[in-house]
């Protein structure tokens, strides 16, 4: 009923166009370049790790599949079970070991991603408390809670995408370098294009999701800030 009254009085609704939101959030990142860099480097490290694990899994997998004696020799030298080595041990034993290896890997990945999310959340929370006056002012100017959430999630997403892209590049280069040292040219002759692409995509999704998840709580906190906060003159 009141809304009707208000609509009659003034007309259109309140909006924040996406283009404007993108512009504001990119500038907010730029002005705090130092801290954005720290947050982004957290993502870079986590994704580089994730990417190197996944891509070397794909690479080794494809080398194993090739099942050539020279390659198998190299693999065994690096402590990796191959099909031809099964004679020494029962295949069940080998499988159990591989299983254990994989679960260890999963734990490591999980932990590193968790640390990354916590890092992002922490940095975003700092950014929110630092900007309470700015947020309050925006709310005084008529910003809805959803505008504030939009701005913070966008900021975090940009950090996430940039960090993830760099992380993927670093992870991939590291894997390539290390495996080139160990297996030489075979890396290229049996390069698992599909597997690597899959890892790239999965890492991209993971990195972006991570930064979104990390920013959710801080963004919500920012959105719930009262406009009166803008009036506070301390700090």
């Amino acid at each position: 009923m009141n809304e009707q009254r208000l609509q009659v009085a003034g007309g259109r609704e309140i909006v924040l166009p996406m283009s404007k939101a993108v512009e504001i959030s990119i500038r907010s990142l730029k002005i705090r370049f130092g801290r954005s860099l720290i947050t982004t480097s957290g993502i870079i490290l986590a994704i580089a790790f994730l990417m190197s694990v996944w891509s070397s899994n794909a690479l080794i997998g494809s080398l194993k599949e090739a099942n050539k004696s020279e390659i198998n020799l190299l693999l065994q030298k690096n402590g990796i079970e191959t099909a031809s080595a099964e004679g020494g041990r029962s295949s069940a034993d080998a499988r159990a070991q591989a299983q254990e290896e994989r679960s260890k890997q999963t734990w490591l990945i999980g932990l590193s991603l968790l640390v990354c999310v916590v890092g992002i959340a922490n940095a975003m929370l700092m950014s929110v408390t630092e900007r309470f006056r700015e947020i309050g002012t925006m709310k005084c100017l008529g910003a809805l809670d959803s505008f504030i959430i939009k701005l913070f999630l966008l900021e975090s997403t940009f950090q996430g995408v940039v960090g993830t892209t760099i992380g993927i590049a670093i992870g991939l280069l590291m894997t390539l370098g290390l495996n080139l040292l160990a297996y030489g040219g075979y890396v290229f002759s049996y390069f698992p294009v599909g597997g690597i692409l899959q890892s790239v995509l999965a890492s991209l999704v993971a990195g972006t999701l991570l930064s979104l998840v990390g920013a959710m709580l801080p963004a919500y906190k920012a959105a719930k800030m009262e406009p009166v906060e803008a009036m506070r003159s301390d700090t």
Binding site: N2, E3, R5, L6, A9, G10, R12, E13, I14, V15, L16, P17, K20, I24, R27, S28, K30, I31, R133, E134, G136, T137, M138, K139, C140, L141, G142, A143, L144, D145, F147, E226, P227, V228, A230, M231, S233
Partner: protein, 254 residues
């Protein structure tokens, strides 16, 4: 001093009205009564100053009148709409279009230029970027900062920042402009300039200006001054009374 003569009918239109407004804060187990039943009518087009020492409830009343706070008891009407009845969306709408805010510490958005700061409320109100740019430039010209539209807040002096803030407050042609100690962070001369600017805007566009202040320079431009003490209206003085007081070299309590 006052340049506009208001017709009686104009003066009777109320833009903000409070009815027996009380505000109680709970601090631990003790209750603090910040406002003890305030009745106040603010008329369209007037320049009203709220005065009172800190802790008097002045800020609380000011926030209430600006739709930033809700009363514990009683009612606040802004433009005949009961603020307590509004949901979050309607409140944002009200703040966007009906009220302009001016802050003690300017509160410009640091990442935006002067023009972008002025146009932000217009963006929220759904104006196209062309419309808002043109209107924003007109407003910046009005406050005397036309050629500084591309400057960031940190490239402007305090007085210039506050001028931008005045332009921003007027962005969506609000019914009311709320100025919270607008001169507190400015030196004497710049403070006077801002007060004159506010008065000029008040006179030229007929916008209602409500300012909370300690600043006695405000007295000479105000149509009415409301003194708040212990959560109640202590005294209301209008233009005629004020002229006498000002000429008597205002020996008021500081």
């Amino acid at each position: 001093m006052s340049t506009v003569e208001k017709t009686p009918s104009e003066e009777q239109r109320t833009v903000v009205r409070t009815q027996q407004v009380k505000k109680i804060y709970k601090m631990g187990n003790t209750e603090v009564q910040a406002l003890r039943g305030v009745d106040l009518e603010i008329y369209t087009g007037e320049y009203l100053s709220l005065m009172g020492p800190s802790g008097s409830g002045k800020s609380t009343l000011f926030n209430m009148v600006g739709g930033l706070d809700k009363p514990s008891e009683g009612k606040v009407y802004i433009d005949e709409v009961d603020v307590a009845q509004l949901d979050a969306y309607e409140l944002a709408w009200l703040r966007c279009r009906k009220i302009g805010y001016i802050f003690q510490s300017f509160n410009l958005i640091p990442v935006m230029t002067a023009l972008e700061n002025v146009t932000l409320p217009m963006v929220f109100a759904g104006l196209t970027s062309d419309e808002s740019r043109d209107k924003g430039m007109v407003l910046l010209e009005k406050v005397g900062l036309g050629e500084r539209h591309s400057h960031k807040p940190y490239e402007l002096s305090g007085g210039q920042q506050q001028r931008v803030a005045v332009a921003r407050a007027l962005a969506n042609d609000p019914a009311v402009v709320l100025a919270d100690e607008p001169t507190a962070n400015l030196d004497l001369r710049t403070g006077t300039e801002i007060i004159e600017l506010l008065k000029e805007m008040n006179a030229s566009s007929g916008v209602t200006i409500i300012s909370a202040t300690h600043d006695h320079k405000m007295l000479s431009v105000s149509d009415r001054v409301v003194w708040i003490k212990d959560g109640q209206v202590e005294r209301i003085a209008d233009r005629a009374d004020l002229d006498i007081e000002v000429t008597q070299v205002g020996g008021e309590e500081q």
